[in-house]
Each structure stands twice: as structure tokens, then as C-alpha cells.
Symmetry: C2
Subunit: 330 residues, 2 copies
């Protein structure tokens, strides 16, 4: 039986018809009518109807950035949609009778897809960090998505790593998002460019781009093994490893999975993360250590995860079901 996953992004709404094995049968995209809640409901309803047309569909899951309540029903706050305490599920259910509908945070949906069908497959406890403009997170414990008591768990980007550190969009200071994100990578690269020495290629590339370092420039220099760009990435990895050491003390995952644009640097990022993690791990040597892996479902993880979570909510295989029966969760 298929399920539909919808992912409401800042610029586009993606929708997919997804099988129980996590395969996408049909994929559609629409521009996001940002800031217009009624139009967003229209787009989601339209996508669900189109994708389900002539198919046997059991459920539809919708993923969006922001805080969703633990009952997967109400949007407390969604920056892209400009919503506050919106009964999103009811609005959709009214127009899509007979379909089991759930709402989830977009990072949680993408992380769940990675757990079920990607790098986290076969584990019971996975922590995923998504390194994009910011730092997103998703946590699986005991084979289940950790939503938390109020639906706001997994906001790993707001773990504090420096008291009184860089101001963060969340209103606090020193969050790992300010030291481990793509934006932080640009800051580190700019500092290295300013310092001269190994930063000369970065400085030249910046000058040639009207004085601005952007993600594409730094990514290309990383791929070319430019010493300055690699040093900036190592600084990022060092901070992320420190955050993972604190997370391991609390969550003890079997595996940390890194997704998002910056994580496409692969081992160039993961090696310094792992090294820093081991240097900062409490009680190292007294218990087993987690693995560090790159995400496998780079595109469309959000729609796949949203569909799978919706199918589980509608009474499919238990949420703890692993895609690998041999190492299935207890």
C-alpha cells in the first residue's frame, strides 16, 4: 500500500507517491505560496489528489520547517508559512476525507527516511545532523522517531557549545548552529582569507566574486584540496565533533549521520568530526563508540520520510520496524 509525502520548503512544495520500501513512484513540485496559509493548504490538497489519483493510498504525511505538536496535528510555528498555532491537520482532513493525515517537522521526516532506508538502516539509535545554511537534527531512539514531549525534540542546532558565543537566530548565543553550519564555514573561510598564508586562494576567489565568499566557491576549493578551504572545513568539523561528544553522553547513538549540502564533502568533513569527537568524548574507552556516516538519501528524503511516518501512523508496520529484519529494533 502506498503513502503520499509532502515537503513544504521555503521556495517549493514537493510531493511524492511512496511505496512501503521507500521508493518514489511519482514526484511533483509546485512553487511555495510563501506567507499565504490558505494557498498552501490549496497546494497540498491539490498535490495529494493528483498523486493519489487512481492509486490505493492509505495515508498522507506533510513535512514543514517549524514546531509541530507531539500529536502531529497542530503547527505551533512555521517560519515559511507564517503560522502560529494552526490546526493544519484538521484543515487538510476537512478537504481530504478518508485519508489519514499527519504533520511532522521537515528535519525529522528527512532523518526518519535516512533511518529507515539510508545510512541509519539496521540500527536502533541514530542521530542525524543536517549541515546546510543552519544545523538541523533528527533523533531515533529505541527504533522510534524522537518527537519529544511537545514535538520540539531534535533541535540539535541549538545545543550550546560556547557560553556567550555568537548570537543565534533562536535568540540565544553560542549554539552549534553558529559554529557548525554552512554559514559558519563561510565565516571561517573569510577569516582564513583575511589572514593571508594558506588563505590566499580563498582571498583571490573572494576578490573575483565582488568580495563575497559563497558556498559554491568554498565547496570547489575544498574539492581541489586547497589548504585554506580544507582548514576552514576542519575548523567546522572540530566544532561538530565537540557537539557530538556532548550528544553521545546524552543519547549514545550507534551512528551519527551527516546530511545537507556541506556534508557532501564526505570524509573531508567526517574525518575531522570523528577526530574531534574522540578527543572530547567523556569516559572514552569505557564503552563502545558510534560510527560516523554520510547521508545516503540526499534528495527527497523529506517526502519519503513524511510518507513513511504517515503510513506508520495509519497502522502500517510498527514504527520500530527496521528495513533490515536481521538487525531489527527490539
Amino acid at each position: 500500500v502506498h503513502a503520499i509525502g509532502i515537503d513544504i520548503g521555503g521556495t517549493k512544495v514537493a510531493g511524492a507517491l511512496v511505496t512501503e520500501a521507500g521508493d518514489i513512484l511519482r514526484l511533483e513540485r509546485r512553487p511555495t505560496p510563501a506567507g499565504d496559509p490558505a494557498a498552501i493548504v490549496d497546494v497540498v490538497v491539490e498535490l495529494v489528489r493528483e498523486l493519489g489519483d487512481g492509486e490505493q493510498v492509505v495515508a498522507a504525511g506533510v513535512a514543514a520547517a517549524g514546531f509541530i505538536d507531539a500529536a502531529q496535528s497542530t503547527v505551533y510555528y512555521a517560519p515559511n508559512i507564517n503560522w502560529r498555532s494552526e490546526p493544519f491537520r484538521d484543515r487538510l482532513s476537512d478537504r481530504l476525507p478518508g485519508l489519514d493525515i499527519t504533520i511532522d517537522n521537515d528535519a525529522n521526516a528527512a532523518g526518519w527516511a535516512e533511518y529507515r532506508f539510508g545510512a541509519g538502516r539496521g540500527t536502533t539509535d541514530m542521530t542525524m545532523l543536517t549541515i546546510g545554511t543552519g544545523v538541523g537534527g533528527a533523533i531515533v531512539t529505541n527504533g522510534r522517531l524522537l518527537r519529544g514531549g511537545f514535538g520540539a525534540a531534535g533541535e540539535i542546532g541549538h545545543l550550546r557549545v560556547v557560553p556567550g558565543g555568537h548570537p543565534c537566530g533562536c535568540g540565544q548565543k553560542g549554539c552549534i548552529e553558529q559554529y557548525g553550519s554552512g554559514r559558519a564555514l563561510m565565516r571561517f573561510a573569510g577569516e582564513i582569507a583575511d589572514a593571508g598564508g594558506i588563505g590566499q586562494s580563498l582571498a583571490r576567489a573572494r576578490a573575483a566574486n565582488d568580495g563575497v565568499l559563497d558556498g559554491a566557491i568554498v565547496a570547489r576549493l575544498i574539492e581541489d584540496d586547497d589548504p585554506g578551504a580544507r582548514a576552514a572545513l576542519r575548523e567546522l568539523g572540530d566544532w561538530l565533533g565537540q557537539a557530538c561528544a556532548s550528544i553521545a553522553a546524552v543519547l549514545d547513538p550507534q551512528v551519527f549521520v551527516f546530511g545537507g549540502g556541506v556534508a557532501s564533502a564526505g570524509d573531508r568533513l567526517l574525518d575531522p568530526v570523528r577526530e574531534s569527537f574522540l578527543a572530547h568524548l567523556p569516559a572514552r574507552g569505557f564503552h563502545p563508540e558510534p560510527g560516523f556516516l554520510a547521508a545516503q538519501l540526499v534528495n527527497d528524503a523529506g517526502v519519503v520520510g513524511a510518507a513513511d511516518l504517515a503510513r506508520i501512523h495509519a497502522g502500517g508496520p510498527a514504527e520500530s520496524a527496521s528495513a533490515d529484519p536481521v538487525t531489527a529494533a527490539e
Copy 2:
């Protein structure tokens, strides 16, 4: 059907016969033969036989400080027993045939008791901090004890709050254990005594005790509302609130429960913790906020939790069962 809980402490081994409702029917204590693993097995076997004599017992759970594997079978490391990778469950099962035996970390067992029968009752997501000499932790998510992928989850005392901060026994620096424990309270109190002013009572009490501030002295001054002792406790609460803000971003519990000797100060500790938490909470106002409660099962939580976890392992009511059916976990 009853279960037996055993708690191996640094100085004594406690054992209890516990009902499904968490009531203790019989309680026994023996001195801990510290550093003598074979004698510890003897004491546990003896206690289980005595407590179970003439009773219908389904399972026995043993709690100990240290790292226990996720299968609740092997002790990776236990400081009180001087064990490394010891197959503790098998050693006990060989001598107690027919009984379902499990091993758990002592802080996890105590936290589980608090969740099932104490301050965490009726929630699905609880984080407990035990403020004693150190800072212990226990986490319940989705109505289940969070053991982690390798059994080492819930070591909240080793969340880092200050990069390069005070050295910690875990080998790292700046762990919350160095800023939020009973030992940290003594350090803060000593600094306030040194500074004069509101520290004069602390300084006098210290001089009268051969120059040493101990827990009993500081606790008495806190109870007497001495300004210096209260300031030390506020400093402790401020750090603990900062740690809870990071924990909330990751775990989003419905309730933080504070146990251990220092938490017996009640609201004198919880008020500054809550105040600091709200000042440091990421994205405050965009999602609901947790409660802060003092633990209710001050004594014998370890044996009650160990017995309950063992009963659940043996196939009693699901681990997610809440003691309050109205608000039971999903």
C-alpha cells in the same frame, strides 16, 4: 506478581521485594564487598534467594554504577566493583536458574522508578538529573527508558557547558558535573566565603569545622536562608538551568525531575534552575515549556526501578505502561 530489585552501591548492597505497583514488601541491606567481584555475586545471589523465599517472583533486576550494555547483560565498566566487560547476568543466571535477570545502570533504574511511580508519572518524556556528589541522569522518551545504542545514554553529567572548563573525572573539561553537582556547590560556597560580605556566615562555619565546608554545613545554612549559602545554590541552579536549556533543544521533555541530596533544597534550587532555563531556552515562546519538579522517591528508587525494569523485561505490562492509565503513553 512480584519482582526483586538489587542496587549495588559503593558501601552497601540493597535488595527489595517489589510489587507491580512499586511498593516495597521486604528490604534487606548488606555491606558491599567492594573490589571483590566473586563476593559481589555471592551477596546478590544470597539477597535474591532470601527475598524470594516463599514468594512468587518473576524476575530480578540488578542496578550498579557504570556502563552496562544495551542488552542489559554485560558490565563494560563498574567503578565500585572493579569490573571490565564482565558477563554479570550469566554469572547470576547460572546460580539462579528459572529467574529472568537483567542488569541496569543505577541512575537509569532510579530514574525509571521516578517515571513510573514518582514525579514523572503520567508523562511520556522525562529527564531526571540526580544532584549528589556528581550529576547523574536518566531519560525516558516515548514512554521508554533511553538506554542508547550501547547502553551508555543518559550520562547527562558529562554534557559540556564550558569549553576548556574545570577538569572532570571523565577525562574531559567543562562538564556540567563540575558546575552543577554537590561538589560544585561546595566550591561556590568556598569562593563566597573567601570574598567576605554575604559569605561571612559560610566563612565562620568553615573556620569552626577545621577550615572545611561540607554538605551538611551548607545545607543547614541554605535552610536558614543564609544569603551566602543561598547565593551559592543560585549559582548552581543557574548552571543547571543552562544545561537544561541545551537538553530541552535535544530531548524536549515534558518535565525535568531533580533528585539527589542537593535537590532536597526543593524550590530554593528549582526556582533559580527554572529562571536560568527560561533565560537560555532556544526559540522561547514558539513551543510549550517543560515543568521542573523535585523527585518523590527519595529512598530506594534504585531497587524499585531495577525490579520494575526486570519485570518488564520478563514480559510484564509493556515498558511504556504509565502508572496513570488516563495519561498513559501512546
